[in-house]
Symmetry: C2
DNA sequence: TGGAAAAATGAAAAAGTTTTCATAAATAGC
DNA sequence: GCTATTTATGAAAACTTTTTCATTTTTCCA
């Protein structure tokens, strides 16, 4: 191990001076200081410093597919605020495979630089769980259920959310309710579709497959799905979209066809992203309860950070319906 | 300063044993180990460990008002990707005064936990600059010019952007071009308005104050401004909005009035947030060149991280016009 | 330019930590 | 149950770093 003595020798000065340089003490000539720093660098000397026994970074890694998506943007905001309350900062990782970032970097980050991880992406999920367990890094899965794995999870009840949305429309007198879902292989797409189906069933309405379209959670796909609904001359007075972006796309399409929301068609979205409440008409939507979700996630993480033997939990929260201007009683 | 001797005394054991516990040496009874750890905790003893002279956190703080705003979401994504290329991670701070977070926390973060800061908020800006200078924390201002201060700055030429947008509409034959600006006390609002004015001037069109409205950068304010334009029965065939959200709000308003974009009115936005290219019609917009901005910002920061005496620079980038479906030649 | 004050430095003392070594306690093997 | 071996421990030696203190060098000012 390189020590201060060797550094002093190489810098051609005394041990005391090197010590002063390292500790930023006063009274060292700039020239000498530079010589010492050079020697330190050359010998790769690592001085001793005081450190807590258990080094807490006070950092939490947040892994999302893409913050520029308003949904994950809202999530990041909520989690950053919640983390702040516990004195933690959020390290943001976008992992959707678009940015070619080296993946090992993600694993290194998780293992060495953060006190815990909130994971809201699907990328390399099994591997991340495995490594986190090995290295005892606290981990909370957001919005993804991993079957047959004991891991902290916070989800919302998507079935219930869609059920609520459908029930709301039914209570307004709607009987023909279209549904624009997400990709079939997404858990949440299917859960939301099922909630819609169950509500129809409960109120004795028939589930009509011809009114169900699949989008891919983008505005564009919502627009296109609605366009097809109109072109196919489907008969409907209300629409549920599996997320707000698709709802907005659908509304745009309706507007362009001279169909008024909510006068002619009522629309319910899902997520309550920030623009949902600033658009016109304001969007009725199933509000993803980001504040409660953030709080619970942080609590789970904190528990595990302070005591690594705490056993994982699975928390399911219930969304609420934010009733706004895009839904209205069916006109007679 | 608490030392190992005191810990030994409190744990009722010898200095050597405490040292062994700290260094995870072999041959310490679990019972003794626990006693020592307890004493360490109680006395808050911080052992000495080897550390590189210049401790690089490999973290960069990104301060924005609110990531849930799609504009800042896009910015965060771009910067996170760029930082990743340099081996750095982004620590996300939302500072818009909504979350009551303790402000000292922000200053502590900046001073002690990151290698550099990218600041894209207006909150406490003078103070942050002052402290960063004192503590020699590399700092880059994004999108804010701080007059009479030598500080790294990356901005886009807003005048030029608005000029481009206006020129584009004029080249399509539009002569009556409305403008929805931002709050008057924002630098960028005024710059964008001036660019619009200059372009009109250049092409011999008159600047008509009656076609200029002020919004607050939200969808809602764009909607309302357009509503007033229509109610006031203003004569215009094109619109420039000072950001995309207001452009979208305005388009929604037009749609609801049965006015087609782009057939009846052409619309240009500003920023190119992610939804601009996934809505229908796709929005023609002045593209905030986030990739180039991110790269330049990181380069400035890296320079200053590796050599603290590097002098600050001010970089201005030129936006490009992303011509999409929301603009069209004026019909005869 | 002379001399007082401030800055810079190294030797050595002091302080803090790790390692060695001798020894005691616990465990295993027979 | 008795020795041999491993485990556990403290005193002291060895090592590392910081601090003190005396001395030299530089700077500042009349």
């Amino acid at each position: 191990m390189v020590n201060i003595k060797e550094v002093a020798k190489r810098a051609n000065t005394s041990i005391a001076t090197v010590s002063r340089v390292i500790n930023n003490s006063s009274n060292v000539k700039e020239e000498t200081r530079q010589k010492v720093l050079k020697a330190i660098k050359e010998l790769n000397y690592q001085p001793l410093t005081r450190q807590p026994v258990v080094r807490e970074n006070q950092f939490i890694g947040l892994v999302v597919p893409d913050v520029s998506n308003p949904f994950f943007g809202k999530m990041a905001r909520g989690l950053a605020d919640a983390a702040g309350k516990f004195g933690y900062s959020i390290i943001l990782c976008n992992i959707d495979g678009i940015c070619g970032g080296e993946d090992d970097y993600l694993l290194d980050l998780i293992e060495n630089r953060v006190d815990g991880v909130i994971y809201a992406s699907s990328h390399r999920i099994r591997e991340v769980i495995k490594r986190a367990k090995q290295k005892k890094v606290p981990l909370v899965m957001l919005d993804r259920e991993i079957k047959y794995t004991d891991i902290n999870t916070v989800t919302i009840d998507n079935n219930y959310g869609a059920f609520l949305a459908t029930e709301h429309l039914i209570s307004l007198g709607h009987k023909k309710i279209a549904f624009i879902g997400g990709p079939k292989n997404f858990q949440i797409s299917e859960q939301r579709r099922i909630g819609y189906e169950k509500a129809l069933e409960k109120y004795g309405l028939s589930y009509d497959e011809e009114l169900v379209y699949a989008g891919i959670f983008t505005m564009e796909s919502g627009f296109k799905a609605m366009k097809r609904l109109l072109e196919d001359k489907k008969n409907f007075s209300a629409l549920i979209a599996a997320n707000d972006l698709m709802a907005i796309g659908a509304i745009n399409c309706l507007s362009q066809h001279g169909i008024s929301v909510p006068d002619d068609v009522s629309v319910v979205g899902f997520d309550d992203i920030s623009i949902a409440s600033t658009m016109e008409p304001k969007l009725t939507t199933v509000a993803y309860p980001i504040e409660r979700i953030s709080e619970r996630s942080l609590e789970l993480l904190m528990k595990q950070i302070s005591n690594e033997d705490v056993s994982p939990e699975k928390i399911t929260l219930f969304p609420k319906l934010a009733v706004r201007g895009s839904t209205k009683s069916l006109k007679e």
